[in-house]
Amino acid sequence: MDPEGLRAEYSAWLRVAAERRFGAARAQELARTIEDVAGWMTDVATFPVGDDEQPAFYGEPAP
């Protein structure tokens, strides 16, 4: 999916999730934040990451 399409999908999904969890009024108040988060989610989802790149939960081991 193209990034713009994915961003729209995330945005719609977040609005629905926010309404369900926090109520419609609060979801409306979060509208701008939802757009920011949808953008970050899109950037993270579409940026290429190596197949063998494991998550680093904490810092690398000491040298």
Binding site: L30, P55, A56
Partner: protein, 446 residues
């Protein structure tokens, strides 16, 4: 010289040589706070009684020739997210009103064990996010001191205390230090224990230090660094003698990160370029360095990680007290609750990829160099742009800011240096060399 202007290391030396009493030093700083803090609002709580009691004890011990450690009798302040035994710790939040920890954060305890005296607690944005503290910038009270370690920066800059603890999850220690004309260090992730520091993002929270000289930062790091078995993220890396590292100052090999200059205002970019020329004339070997591809994704990854972890940190408290949270932290928690787990893990993988891609650059140069901030401290309450700190917070790499002059507005500017993991010793050495070339920052006139 007025006692309140003494750096930590000079005060410690004078106390050890018995030409300065800790009692006089504490009284001078309390008087300074009394005189100017209504304008700066750096302190949430000043522990008059506790500091005076500790000062008298330190003076008695000094008179007997007993010194607890290298900061014997020297006051420090701590951001109000550091636990302090018997002192209110409220994190700038209505949800924490009246909370009094029964123990000190490890970093507070280590400073006390080295003889330092906790003077009080310093304002923070709510839970170290972006709902602002009341603190003002001592250089211009119409401006922010930056955040989230707002009180730490303002108090040290205003000569109310020589050394302060701050924290950084995105840009909260180095940025306010720069806005206030200070030296500020964010060490490698895991270098200083975060035990007893209210978390914001478990895998990105760092304890930092602020002072008015690189030497004071080196001393503070020597005391606070080192493994803490009570902190799951604490490193076992050996702690070198950071003060000794400053004795071998030499012109560093510097990788200049042009992208940051392009994102700064023309005034900041030009001023920093002039500073770079001065460093080159003094002998620094400077060339342009290119950031790796994953740099483009680190901001999104950092915010996805932080929101997700913040939601986890606050889940129980938020369920009970959501209405007591201020707007920015509240929306951060709410959005963190909605971010899918697979994207959180992908963001962690991006972080590791970025850190791995940075390795060749960090091996090639002693330090990487950027302006510390894209602008001087902005007017108003918002705490400023953290984007120049973010890559080093998400990757856990050490970074330091050194004052490098004043903008036309009279506000301080800073030079940010970055180095490889657990290379604080050469980083501090390079910072001290820059400080020698550029000179120490002046003091704000309050």
């Amino acid at each position: 010289m007025s006692l309140h202007t003494l750096d930590a290391i000079d005060a410690a030396r004078a106390i050890r040589e018995k030409v300065l009493s800790p009692v006089d030093l504490v009284e001078a700083l309390l008087e300074r706070i009394e005189r100017i803090d209504d304008r700066v609002q750096a302190w949430v709580l000043v522990d008059h009684d506790g500091a005076r009691r500790a000062a008298r004890q330190a003076a008695d011990e000094a008179a007997r020739g007993t010194f607890r450690g290298p900061l014997h009798g020297v006051p420090f302040g701590a951001k109000d997210i550091f636990y302090s035994a018997g002192l209110r710790t409220e994190a700038g939040s209505k949800t924490m009103v009246g909370f009094v920890p029964d123990h000190d954060a490890t970093s507070v305890a280590r400073l006390k064990a080295a003889g330092a005296i906790l003077l009080g607690k310093l304002h923070t944005t709510e839970f170290a996010t972006s709902d602002p503290a009341p603190t003002r910038n001592p250089w211009n009270v119409a401006c922010t001191p930056g955040g989230s370690s707002s009180g730490s920066a303002a108090a040290v800059a205003a000569r109310m205390v020589p050394l302060a603890l701050g924290t950084q999850t995105i840009g909260s220690n180095v940025r306010p230090a720069s806005y206030c004309g200070l030296v500020g260090l964010k060490p490698t992730f895991g270098r200083i224990s975060t035990r007893g520091v209210m978390p914001l993002s478990y895998s990105q929270d760092h304890v930092g230090l602020m002072a008015r000289s690189v030497e004071d930062i080196a001393l503070g790091l020597s005391i606070t660094a080192g493994h803490d078995p009570e902190d799951a993220s604490s490193s076992r890396a050996p702690v070198p003698d950071y003060l000794a590292a400053l004795t071998s100052r030499r012109a560093p090999r510097v990788g200049l990160l042009r992208e940051f200059f392009e994102r700064a205002t023309p005034e900041v970019a030009d001023a920093t370029a002039q500073v770079v020329n001065r460093l080159a004339r003094a002998g620094a070997d400077i060339e342009e360095a290119k950031l790796p591809p994953t740099f483009r994704a680190v901001a999104a990854a950092a915010y996805v990680i932080m929101r997700s972890e913040t939601a986890s940190v606050h889940a129980e408290r938020f369920a009970l007290k959501a209405d007591l949270y201020r707007p920015a932290i509240r929306s951060s928690i709410e959005m963190g609750m909605l971010i899918p787990g697979d994207l959180y893990v992908r963001a962690l993988r991006i972080r590791r990829q970025f850190r791995r891609e940075m390795s060749p650059l960090l091996e090639r140069y002693d330090v990487l160099l950027t302006p510390t901030t894209p602008t001087p401290a902005p007017e108003g309450m918002a705490t400023g742009d953290a984007s120049f700190q973010l890559p080093w917070s998400i990757s856990g790499l050490p970074s330091i800011t050194v004052p490098c002059g004043l903008a036309t507005s009279g506000l301080p500017l800073g030079l940010q240096l970055v180095s490889g993991a657990f290379t604080e010793a050469p980083l501090l050495s390079a910072a001290a060399w820059c400080e020698d070339v550029l000179g120490r920052a002046s003091a704000p006139s309050l």
